[in-house]
Amino acid sequence: MAPKVKLPKPGELSQIDFKTPATDWMDTPVEFKPGTYCWGAKEKDLLTLGLPNPRQWSPADEDWKIPEGWESTILDGIAERLSKYRSFKIFMDICVRCGACADKCHFYIATGDPKNMPVLRAELLRSVYKKYFTKSGKFLGRLAGARELNMDVLKEWWSYFFQCTECRRCSVFCPYGIDQAEVTIIGRELLNLVGLNIDWIAGPAAACYMKGNHLGLEPHAITGNIESMVDDIEDITGIRVNPTFNRKGAEIMFVTPSGDLLGEPGVYTCMGYLMLFHELGLDYTWSTYASEGGNFGFFTSNETAKRLNYKIYAEAKRLGVKYIIGGECGHMWRVLNQYMDTWHGPADFLEVPVSPITGTVFENAKSTKMIHISEFTADLIKHKKLNLDPTRNDHLKVTFHDSCNPSRGMGMLEEPREIIKAVCNNFYEMPENTIREKTFCCGSGSGLNASENMEQRMRGGFPRANAVKYVKEKHGVNMLANVCAVDRAALPALMDYWNPGVGVTGVTELVANALVMKGEKERTTNLRFEDLPGKGGNE
């Protein structure tokens, strides 16, 4: 492993060179600069998952230990995926290289590296597709934009498909809807055929497979962590909430990303869920087996994603619940919205979700039987079922970061905003081109939130951070709300780097701070044990 590298100062990172290289992109070799790439996947994790070519290797080495004959493995893999995915075929064939996507990618904006333009990232794979799967590429070669597959190309793929966070922003602007996330997903599948994953994805995916969650928390650790949250809640509110685990016959199973179970500020969001559900008297259970909403398998291959996702329906069936509520997470919701029912449905053992508090029938989830906590909470607020005191959040000036997947792979834009507006008095939107369906990625999505690539993460998050800076300077925004566990893990570092003084919170944490619970003592602190406005000495 390479030595730890020093993170450049923000002033250096924001010096971005948009000049195109002197050499054509096919002649410009890929560079592996420490701080900008992730470690290679570990042997043990690939063994756990049964993925090809498990071995110890490092991207910094010349020899990546790829088995003989890997070229045909990749080419067969391309052929198979062309026959399985119309999206892949069409996206390979119809790009006109108009360049509309180019400056829409956060990694291109922040690196100026043309291979980070979505069009060129796709071209890295398209050039090989042309060479081996089209007549024009076979005969005209480079004139048609075709090139041979070789080790340099493979390394280039690995570099750039793990510099894409599958955020789909390019797809919004493409006149044909070409989605680089789809190309990256398939590119990563191909790389995994020869054992080229990154540690930060393969590790959590293996842990999730065996232990039920990315963090590898064993059952007693999950209950232990939640118990300590319960203690904190009691200290703050005087109320002892009483969550249950793996309980058969509960009405609802709750699944959230395991990032909410460990580390700040995720745990505060988790405390928020516990308080909200307790206050409602919800008949719900946690599961230690299906203890992960997120899915790092989705960043590996369709099959791995499906294998990890299996637990959610299987556990709901075993416990005999009626429906499922899912916590705040980004890619988790793309998977639940666009993949889960297709993989493991029909969920005919569940019932169409009905809020036991308001009676609202969630027709939009009548097949998957899984609803988002923000949909559930927005409904409660609309029906005035929560006693809220938004002044408890008066020390916060909040802005909302739409996570890529809930916005562009689902369209959940208004629900969290309705909630925030009900629980906070100071809410400010970031500029129009940086929110909702045009939101910018945190720079760490799709499994890239490792520590060894911190420089690249700070770059990738620059457009997001810059938009936060705008509202920070204009309105004094000091809190960045979101509905994503990766955001809660990644954005604090991003804010500390670009916008010191801006905190990060889940939406449900804001709800819980404003929530006046029945029989609670007078709160003097928020969930972070910080003095509430007007209640402490530090006002």
Binding site: P10, S14, I16, K19, L82, Y85, R86, K89, I94, R97, G99, A100, D103, K104, I109, L120, K135, A144, G145, S171, V172, F173, C174, P175, Y176, G177, D179, E182, K211, G212, P219, H220, T223, K306, R307, K311, A314, R318, N337, Q338, Y339, D341, T342, N364, S367, T368, E375, A378, K382, S407, G411, M412, L413, E414, E415, P431, E437, N466, A467, E473
Partner: protein, 333 residues
Amino acid sequence: MKVLYSFITVIVLIIVASIGASIANLHYVFGIIIPYLAFIMFVGGFIYRVVKWGRSPVPFRIPTTIGQQKSLPWIKQNKIENPSSAFGVIVRMAMEVFLFRSLFRNTKTELREGKNGPELSYGSAKWLWLGSLFFHWSFLIIIVRHLRFFLEPVPFLVQAFENVDGMLQIGLPAIYLTDVFILIAVTFLFFRRLVVPQVRYISLPADFFPLFMIMSIAGTGILMRYFFKVDLVAVKELAIGLATFQPVLPTDIGPMFFIHIFLVSILFAYFPMSKLMHMGGIFMSPTRNMMNNSRMVRHINPWNYDVEVHTYEHYEDEFRDKMKKAGLPVEKE
């Protein structure tokens, strides 16, 4: 270099066409055989490509949602950009195909040094949208106008298009607006590719070639209408002969015509094997032509196969003692 290759190719094609045009014996080849071959390659190739795309399934429902989803009754859904009905998809596709909706969103990212550090801004950038819209619509209208050569009597709609197109009535014969627009638009698209460094960097010879071809086709068309006039009655005789599969070769059509029809033939033959197939592909793009209703209706993946999973039983077997100690219920004691 990339520009040069394409340019030279088109020049060579024009020279070949000129030779064909200047040797009367070759007129049958250039006026009848090559157009037929091109037509077969175009139609056959187009169908082949579309069928080939269609043979691959759409395993997952993956629309790019560009607006509010359908969820709670009082939250206003964006029924077009996040459609949950077939009607919504049709409107979305129509806006994409006829108005280039997504390109209309285009912005230009700029980085500048503000007083408190770097500032990114995203300005409106509508030129590509405008240029493309003018280009494609002009192209379509020009093709419709050309139907007057193939049809007798000329249908009302074709005549109407032509009248509107020539409504400025400048010059004789009247100048068509679309001729002007397509030349301006295609020149814009060409210079954009050449001048904007990023676009130049991603461009391939295959991106310049169609532009040069279309420029040359429009150019020869205009030349023969206004400057090197050809015998229109003869052209129509030939066109109707082609359309009715009773080809006749009138004499003395004029050489410019043969250059024009040869370039058109090459472009049509080239079409299905090139990026120009975006014309067909847009209709089949899964991120645009699907409803976002995957939580309401189960989408079926025809190749969905069983995978190896880690079952609850495996899990409990591994952690039973720890679960019991933590007070968790277990299936087997």
